[in-house]
Amino acid sequence: MHSPDLLVIGAGPAGLSAAVEAASAGLDTVVVDEGVTAGGQLVKQTHKFFGNEGFFASVRGFEIARSLLEELVDFENVEIFQESSVIGVYEDGIPVLHLPSDTTRLFRPKRVVVATGASEKFLQFENNDLPGVYGAGAVQTLMNQFGIMPGKNVLMIGSGNIGLIVSYQLVQAGVNVKAIVEIADRIGGYEVHADKVKRLGIPVLLKHTVTRALGVESVEGAEICEVDEKFSPIPSTARELVVDTVCIAVGLNPSVELIAQAGGQIRYVAELGGYVPVRDEDMRATAEGFFVAGDVSGIEEATTAMIEGRIAGLSVVRDLKGSTDENKVSRLKKELVGFRNGPISARVREGLQKLGFDVSSGESRTGNLNNPQKYRGKLRPIIECFEAIPCNPCETSCPTGAIVVGGNINDVPVIDYDKCNGCGICMTKCPGLAIFMLQELPDEDSALIGIPYEFIPLPSKGDQVHLLGRQGEMLAEGTVQRVFRSPHKTNSVYVKTPLELADKVRSIRPVLQEDNAFVCRCEELTVSDIEAAIDEGYTDFEELRRKLRISMGPCGGRTCRLNALRILSRKTGKSIEELSFGVLRPPSIPSTLGSIARQKGAEDD
């Protein structure tokens, strides 16, 4: 048994940074990591990173990992265990499974930094359990770490940054990426990443989805479909692509199992990627002695992960030694604020606000000239145009001259609500679909939101629709209040939303048809299985779990839990936040009885 001052779980940028701070203050530190080499997501990244110069901007991911590791190897008080998975957090210690030797080792550290990063979200479609259907992370690991090609012809699902970057990397490795399909009507990732793959001639099929994988033993093809305005596949548009790999890149969920097992409170914050640990600014979680850092505390970037890791490390030092480099801590905290200042972090800021942080960031999200509070109740446009792009139709279309982009067409628009008469023309003219209309309603708890809408057919007044957020996440259901056809092709749809969602609802869509797709691969449960059980009256996640054995397979619910909760939320009308998350039981990684019996460094008991 080993009782270090600090156990760091995960050797990604967050964990390594925490270890560096703890070790330089003289703490006896152990780092354990599942991967073959340290670095977490970084080792898979062969592209150049965006970011802040102090934190390795423009350096390639794996090089960042190497230089963090070099900092660590100089310390004698640090031990790093690779290919070592934490089995669970128990009242009597933290056992770690060493995969190559199939042995276990028990740690009883004084403090723990959980820096376990994130795991991939999973997508429901027919035959998604065929060999050849991979998550993007697995593909990256195979390719960039082990030099193994996942296949020859790949279909990529998802055009977020990960989907775009992995496609680029696949082409770099000589793999043919047949297409990237994206269900939304726009690319999810940064434009620059999208431009990169477009330049390679990879078609990005917007408003498309994968409906099933084809093949008997393994993937031999995939059927894709256009989707209608309700995001339902249009059967007549189905076509088959000959591919041997389907790569899913539809987002990440923070890996909160361990911190939850430790008794740390977790909360659903969609903006941060799903369930995240509740923690304070010093990265201290609510479980005694536990800290978190990096993607596990909310999906962000390597840069923020490194800053958070350092803060966590310094906080541990403060805890154990009574003092820490407070100047450094406050400098790091300032850097974090600065980093999250930009428009791209708007979502993260919203998420942090939900966790109770004050992130009033200086940057005003709408270029408002006047105090928006003064205009509560007035129908007015909300302009979400932050990238300095050469564009000004909003200015030129406004009949009252309320919007000013100014002399430099690259500037962002600024609006004067005193001049605005609420006509909504700007919304229908903006090519970026970056303008929305807002009016708080007299009943005090709802608002009217106008959304630019380019799908056919248009919904009609009275229709029920899903209200979606900026990333297409489902927020609630609402009713269409008004619809305006516009001669400029961009129509306007007005929906009523709860007031607290007024700042979030930016899109609408009805229910996706996905009845026979697997939600839980381990137990082979489909959407309709789950819906049927809910209809029978199993409306508690724990009851559902016991009835259907959902999330009782080897994956421990990593892939299916949230998807099942979404279905439950949709069927019961309760938000995911209201539903009970259920328990996360150890072991997090299935270990053999033999490996548990073979314990290293433990006194016999």
Binding site: G88, Y90, E91, D92, G93, P95, L106, G537, Y538, D540, E542, E543, R546, K547, R549, M552, G553, P554, G556, R585, P586, P587, P590, S591, T592, L593, G594, I596, A597, Q599, A602, D605
Partner: protein, 380 residues
């Protein structure tokens, strides 16, 4: 929520829902079940689901045999498949003391009408070749023992009771029981007040606390018991296998997972539900020696539940003395799942007709702990 009820059952585990079920099929109206969490959230949803008639106390044998008859007709009666399997229960004896105990037990059990026999080591080896029998002396085997899925059984009772008109309130906690002049007048819950004259304490691990709500002192304490389950394997094990001296039990679920657990003498009374590494370690060191195939099998999950214990490890099923119409069905230690059908039936009769009728609950009273306490020996 209803404002009044004829009977309020506190606890939505197997015992509470079985009682509610039998009350409703015997015609009782306005039955309420209160469950502070979700159905099967207590010991029931955490138990191994073993159904065994091989006990050392005749009263337990009788109750278990009666329950087995109910389990046999469960599907027909309630229309629900609860994965009930009669694969037998194999009790391994590792020393002379155990052999003597089992021989005496078998004699008594046969008198009670149970089909049960002693198997020699060779017979054990032949019938269950996956067991390393080096240290085994003999075994006791009853083919009509078995196991079922506790969640499904719990849900099935609740649904049937509900269909027959009972109100099942989950996420509703009993906070207080009003008693005036020895008469119950109502139950305070966190979702409202229910007027009633009859309360049943079926609160499992929290039986003592729910007793105190009405001023009834029930001598029970709760202890953590842990259990683990492996990845699914091909079907290997028909019977549930158990040893008292080696301190384990094991069975294979219908889905193929091997489920096993043990007791821990060092455990202190508590409401602790956290699993410990010590348990996993002890099980992993112990089990592959007897069952070598387990060595390479992966542990999927591992959890803990409460054994609600009376001083003699037998249930307390009684009506309180000082508070009229306060019933309790508690203290089931490690065998409340299997006894629930008979207990539900007997208690329902008691409440409706004033006596448990055909179900013998005579040795299970609250007053039995004053003199010498005779402990059930066949427990893990």
């Amino acid at each position: 929520m209803t404002e009044k009820a004829s009977v309020v059952v506190i606890g939505g585990g197997i015992v509470g829902t079985a009682i509610a079920y039998y009350l409703t099929i015997k015609g009782q109206r306005d039955v309420v079940v209160l469950e502070k969490n979700y159905l099967s959230s207590g010991s029931t949803g955490r138990c191994a689901g073993g159904i065994r008639q091989q006990w050392s106390e005749p009263s337990n044998v009788r109750l278990a045999m009666r329950s087995v008859r109910h389990f046999e007709s469960f599907k027909k009666e309630l229309g629900a498949d609860i994965e009930y399997v009669q694969g037998g229960y194999l009790l391994l004896a590792f020393d002379e003391e155990e052999e003597t105990l089992f021989r005496n037990n078998v004699e008594m059990q046969k008198k009670e009408g149970l089909e049960v026999s002693i198997l020699s080591v060779d017979e054990v080896k032949k019938r269950f070749p996956y067991i390393v029998v080096d240290d085994v002396k003999s075994a006791s085997f009853c083919p009509t023992d078995g196991h079922a899925n506790p969640h499904l059984a719990n849900f099935a009772y609740a649904r049937a009771a509900k269909k027959n008109g009972a109100w099942i309130y989950t996420h509703t906690r009993a906070l207080g029981i009003d008693v005036e002049n020895g008469q119950i007048t109502g139950v305070e819950t966190d979702r409202g007040y229910i007027k009633t004259g009859v309360v049943v304490n079926a609160a499992g691990g929290f039986s003592r606390q729910v007793g105190l709500l009405a001023g009834v002192d029930i001598p029970t304490e709760s202890y953590r018991h842990q259990i683990m389950v492996t990845e699914p394997l091909e079907h290997i094990l028909d019977p549930m296998i158990i040893s008292f001296s080696r301190n384990f039990y094991m069975r294979q679920t219908v889905s193929g997972n091997i489920m096993m657990g043990q007791g821990d003498e060092d455990e202190k009374p508590s409401f602790n539900h956290d699993p410990s590494w010590r348990f996993l370690t002890q099980m992993s060191k112990k089990m592959p020696g007897l069952f070598p195939f387990l060595e390479k099998v992966r542990v999927l999950r591992h959890w803990a539940g409460l054994y609600n214990m009376s001083p003699d490890a037998q249930p307390i099923i009684d009506k309180a003395e000082d508070v009229s119409d306060y019933y309790c069905a508690v203290g089931f230690s490690g065998h409340g799942f299997m006894l629930a059908p008979a207990v539900g039936e007997g208690l329902a009769d008691w409440i409706i007709d004033g006596s448990p009728k055909e179900v013998d609950l005579s040795n299970l009273g609250l007053d039995r702990f004053t003199g010498e306490v005779k402990r059930e020996k066949n427990v893990v």
